[in-house]
Amino acid sequence: MSAPTRDSLLDDATLEAYFDATIAAGHRIEPRDWMPEGYRNGLIRQIAQHAHSEIIGMQPEGDWLLAAPSLRRKAILLAKVQDEAGHGMYLYSAAETLAADRADLTDKLIERRQKYSSIFNYPTLTYADVGVIGWLVDGAAICNQVPLCRSSYGPYARAMIRVCKEESFHQRQGYELLMTMMGGTPEQRAMVQDAVDRWWWPSLMMFGPPDDDSPNTAQSMKWGVKRHTNDELRQRFVDMSVPQAEFLGVTLPDPELTLDPESGHYRFGAIDWAEFKRVIAGEGPCNDERIARRRAARDDNAWVTEAATAYAEKQP
């Protein structure tokens, strides 16, 4: 039996009951299925924010493409940044199945009416940042995103499976770069430690505000759009990263980081949520630069898109 579609003559209460039952049974909602407007709008917001993060996220690492210190590293980084453009494309496509429009979402990003992950507002100061972004930032993204492969919305869940596979590859490449640099010169080891010092706390902020200050979490979990709370995922990331840091030979910049033998989890220090809010509010080191470049790519090349459209219309 298939779900009722939007053209169905059933009343909203019946449709909503069917929708709720579909979610409760762990089945997927598909684009033609009826869904509450709150579900649709929340998903568009979440998927667009994710897509914007992929596209803005090309910039910090992209800043090292021209200066990558070996041809092999240049090829790895170019392929990675290219993957991120691809992720942005799948995600915008998933949003389009909810009747959103890619150009409109891009406009909202540029006009700062939609957000992207605050992590990409920090600068990449050395080549070690490329490795640390792979290890910690992609690592945190994987913790956030793997549960989304089971999102209740089918197109999003399917896009996330491919995204997660590629992110996992990127994380390993990042870690491998750091391992190589730690085996290099003392200057290289110092670069890695410095990059870890700068990126550790912003990576923990990637999971979003603490559960008692996360207004959307409860509804998102009820609808199966979100599967774990921010704090659960953050804890999972810390537990995963500490042994990796030890193996790498770097110190995580948190004197309070200790293993709690009873729970088996690492306890960590207080996150500076004031900084998180400042960066979200647009006052991070690179917010203006990131948006300005995206705006320039749209505006300076608008004539190209217009040409492609005009040409297509002329074809028989």
Partner: protein, 303 residues
Amino acid sequence: MAHEETVYDALDQAHGGEGHWAFGTGFDDPLAGVDTTVPDGVDPADLGAYCLMLGDDALVLAQRLTQWVTNAPELEEEVALANIALDLLGQARLLLARAGSVGVLGRSRTLAGDTIPDEDALAYFRDVDEFRSTALVVAPNGDFAQTIARLLVAATWRLALFARLRASRDPVLAAIAAKGVNELAYHRDHAGRWLLRLGDGTAESHQRAQAGVDAVWPLLADLFTATEVEARLTAAGVAVDPASVRDEVRSVLDEVLTRATLRLPAWPADAAPGGRLGRHGPELPALLEELQGLARTHPQATW
């Protein structure tokens, strides 16, 4: 459910040992397992110099195309331009490695630390006058139309050369060319399709496409004149005489421009080699400074 667990499991297992993380660790010689013997009667210095010519063109054009990444008109074009840059980077790595394998490293080998492979010694530790790239690939991108016009010319020319180079007596060059032909055919197709859209799109795009073509056409002047190295290697059956591809290049470009409703600029008279002999304008030093700066600051580093 299963997928989630699989990915977490993989990450968890990765705690245990380097093996899970470090695939692709270390540098793999791109010519590993390939017979790199120089064919009879060929001067290894000539063969290496020729590989640098073809390799530097690819490296420099890859760098130019990479400048578009995060700045391209559409996400699809981000992916396409990065893909073309990656293909060219791959060609450059093989060709520079081939130059290294026949001992054409010069001072770069002593400037670069022992941990740095030949391809990187050549890419990062040669000075401007040791580069053999043509003015065509060195020229700045300009706008998207000029970038596409240059890519069309470069891909058409290189495809014509590589198609013939598949018959080279040097089996390494022949293999690199055979792999490159498929890539270059796609690059030419991609640029050609864009030039049609731009030339026959809007009034503005037509004007920009014409300006781009007009800016690029003079750079055809030295593409068809052989250096002494190329002349000797052509006689030895190793290289392709650049003059032999002129008619094909011209006929392809004429056809694309005509279909794109663009005016054919005057075909420039053949000029003496410039970039191929290490003579470059002011754009290459700036490009190389960005490419090489970090690697040169840490000549003993391992990346």
